[in-house]
């Protein structure tokens, strides 16, 4: 047992790792998957369908605990799932927010579910606007993988024929609410799109998974698996093959190498026993999420790899990109004042989107290059947050809260940063985590281009509100701090030139042929779209490439 050699060691069980595990197990390879924390027990750990008054702090969590939190995702519904033990650092003057769900399934347990495909406008962006380099593949190559992923996970949307957003195969969309029709009429007047979002939430039963029951609590976990997460959709299938050994509380320290510098396995800390354990495999897949993957590989130093494994390019940990998030504008819809409440909350903010409309005909039409998307939200939410800022008190105040309850709307921007030499991850030379592993140090600042998008979105969203007949209350002052979106990409970018890229066009590292990367680290940048569905599609492609390499005898089966 101690010396057993697995076919593949997979680090991580989120979108990237989960897809790799399932695909490899299906192909008959023996997989040992390592996950940094435990399995969640939906009965115990998912506290959905509880009302705020069922919880000690009304779902807000203990203020003392919130004060020490590394991330905004903590609350009383999900507090067991987020990692508070592994710190990270930022250089003076820089900020980063890094909530990590290290439980089995990772962030897919609680993700936002928006699922748009990347397109050639993203892959060939450099050819269009001259910045950075193109991706080493075309949309035609990745499109079949998106189609297969959409079939696996189920995405609710419509065919929209937009140049920035290739269409896929979709379940029926969520219905529009009153506020959607009103905002859409505003968008029509301003000339920007307002369409059903691409949402991985099942509006009808799909592939053995039940339909959504519209409780609106997706971000606290789903009790029936009506939206994609690896513990509901992929890991059970992998376990059914009997080819999977899943080790939990296994915090990976480094990749092990042989005398030729090839990967032979992984060393991890068992968080229960605090002991270091080694596990061996003929190939290793790193899918620990963008920053954690870079940390593991940078910490995999040896005679062959003095600067981290597979890092002869010097690009490991570099090129960190992220989505700028922020509330571009908010206001209220006088049309709905005093109207009966409406279940606006059921889609948990994924009903509609305003997909990228900038720089489509001419890549230099705007003052910035590339583009951003916007997510509208509002209406009768579970907590009337607007009321904390309403003027007055007494019966008139109470009545005003009720009158305004259905009317509030806001716009959240999702804008990508550009690749930059100054945004990157390295190992902190001094700070170590409780297990003695150097922590990630995150160097990151918003670039000028993304801040221009932010300004642009404030203007457009204000115009939309006015055109929709809304009262504009506020445009955004500051965006969220970096890291908030959880959409970081780029620390192991893929490319054909081994001197400039960590991984090849299949996500296999140039330097170490039996080491693969299956998460958003391989993306060249984060585009205006969310990352999860693309992580799934790229991981599927990389995993099949790995299987093909086993078949060709490049990595011998155990």
């Amino acid at each position: 047992m101690a010396n057993q050699i697995h076919d593949v060691i997979v680090i991580g069980t989120g979108a990237g790792g989960g897809m790799a595990i399932k695909t490899l197990c299906d192909a008959g390879l023996k997989v040992c998957a390592l996950n940094a924390s435990r399995r969640l027990d939906p009965e115990k750990d998912f506290r959905f369908h509880r009302m705020p008054w069922d919880m000690k702090f009304r779902g807000l969590d203990d203020p003392k605990r919130r004060g020490e939190s590394f991330g905004y995702m903590d609350n009383e519904y999900t507090k067991a799932a987020w990692d508070h033990e592994i710190p990270f650092t930022t250089p003076p003057g820089m900020k980063w927010m890094w909530p990590r769900c290290n439980a089995v399934g990772g962030k897919t347990n609680f993700w936002g579910r928006s699922s748009a495909r990347f397109g050639d406008i993203d892959f060939k962006a450099a050819s269009l606007d001259g910045y950075d380099v193109d991706w080493p593949l075309t949309y035609d190559e990745i499109s079949p993988f998106y189609t297969r992923v959409e079939k696996m996970i189920g995405v609710a949307s419509t065919v929209q024929n937009r140049p920035s957003n290739p269409d896929g195969s979709y379940l029926p969309p969520f219905n529009f609410r009153c506020l959607d029709f009103i905002l859409q009429s505003g968008c029509n007047k301003v000339g920007v799109p307002y369409l059903p979002d691409r949402c991985a939430q099942l509006t009808q039963p799909h592939e053995g998974h039940p339909a959504c029951h519209f409780c609106g609590e997706c971000t606290t976990g789903c009790d029936v698996g009506a939206f994609f997460s690896t513990p509901y959709f992929l890991l059970p299938k992998a376990e059914a093959t009997k080819n999977l050994e899943l080790r939990t509380d296994a915090l990976v320290k480094n990749v092990l190498v042989d005398e030729n510098g090839q990967a032979t396995g992984v060393a991890y800390i068992d968080r229960q026993t605090k002991q270091e354990v080694e596990v061996y495999g003929r190939a290793v897949v790193v899918a620990a999420s963008c920053i954690e993957s870079a940390r593991i590989m940078l910490n995999s130093k040896s005679r062959h790899w003095p600067n981290g494994i597979a890092n002869t390019s010097g690009q490991l940990g570099r090129n960190l990109c992220d989505h700028l998030y922020g509330e571009s504008a908010r206001g209220y819809l006088p049309q709905l004042l005093g109207q009966p409440s409406f279940p606006d909350h059921v889609g948990d903010s994924t009903i509609a989107w305003m997909p990228r409309w900038q720089n489509l005909k001419d890549p230099h039409e705007e003052k910035f290059i590339r583009g951003y998307s916007v997510y509208p939200d509002g209406g009768c939410e579970e907590f009337p947050g607007f009321a904390t800022e309403l003027d007055g008190f007494g019966s008139s105040f109470k009545r005003e809260v009720k009158r305004r309850y259905p009317t509030h709307v806001s716009f959240g921007v999702q804008a990508p940063t550009l690749r930059s030499d100054t945004n990157f991850v390295d190992l902190d030379p001094e700070v170590k985590d409780p297990y003695g592993i150097p922590v990630a140090r995150i160097h990151f600042e918003w670039d000028e281009n993304v801040l221009k998008m932010w300004e642009h979105s404030k203007q457009v969203c204000s115009d939309v509100l006015r055109a929709a007949g809304a009262e504009l209350e506020k445009t955004g002052d500051e965006p969220e701090i970096p890291g908030f979106s959880l959409h970081e990409t780029g620390t192991c970018r893929m490319g054909n030139d081994r001197n400039k890229f960590v991984t090849n066009r299949f996500g296999q590292t140039h330097d170490v042929p039996n080491l693969y990367v299956c998460d958003a680290s391989v993306f060249l940048n984060c585009t205006d779209k969310t990352t999860t569905i693309s992580i799934l599609a790229f991981s599927l492609r990389t995993s099949e490439h790995l299987i093909e390499n086993f078949r060709r005898g490049e990595h011998q089966a155990a």
Binding site: M51, D54, Q335, F342, V346, G392
Partner: protein, 192 residues
């Protein structure tokens, strides 16, 4: 399950007397929670009386139940007790309020009638009645209003007040009922 869960949870909460009664579905389980005089954990009895009154003035009991029935003062005491960072603002704010009341009327806040208290608070709570020199008091009132709103609209009484849609489940994705009126210019007259 929900009922048992709530009773068990409420029983663990230190000293809530009204909690169970702010949750409408307690049934027999409620019998396990004895209504008693609430003993504040953070505020002094005198401070707590002022907090309770402020919550009742901010969200009064009128045609529908208010902060009093929802036990909002108990929630605020518990949250402030649990949050050292919030304690200074409340304590100094309450002291400021008594000083302001004495300066304006010669009496401490709780020695005034409800009508006098309401008049005293108007320049703190309404932008249109703000006066220079009252900035500290306005900040405290905003803090109090924020906690009151949070404490009230996170109870079942608060959910019912808004007819919060999360009280129900839906068989299908709810759809706007106003077909043919995308701009919503011809809605029925406001209900509220």
């Amino acid at each position: 399950m929900r009922i048992l869960g709530t009773a068990a949870a409420a029983a663990q909460f230190p000293g809530f007397s009204r909690w169970g009664f702010a949750c409408g579905y307690m049934g027999n389980a409620a019998l396990q929670i004895k209504p008693a005089e609430y003993r504040p954990q953070f505020f002094t009895p005198a401070e707590y009386a002022s907090v309770e009154r402020l919550t009742e003035i901010i969200i009064p009991s009128d045609a529908t139940p208010g902060a009093k029935e929802a036990g909002v003062a108990e929630f605020i005491d518990f949250m402030v007790f649990s949050d050292p960072d919030a304690q200074y603002g409340f304590r100094t704010g309450l002291t400021w309020l008594d000083a302001f009341a004495e300066e304006s009327t010669g009496k401490r806040f709780m020695a005034l009638t409800l009508g006098q208290q309401t008049s005293l608070l108007e320049p703190l709570g309404f932008k249109s009645k703000a006066r220079p020199g009252l900035e500290a008091g306005r900040r405290f009132f905003s803090l109090m209003r924020e906690y009151t709103v949070t404490g009230f609209y996170t109870t079942e009484i608060g959910y019912k007040e808004l007819d919060n849609p999360a009280l129900k489940f839906y068989a299908e994705s709810p759809e706007c009922p106003h077909t043919g009126d995308p701009e919503h210019k011809h809605l029925p007259p406001p209900k509220y």
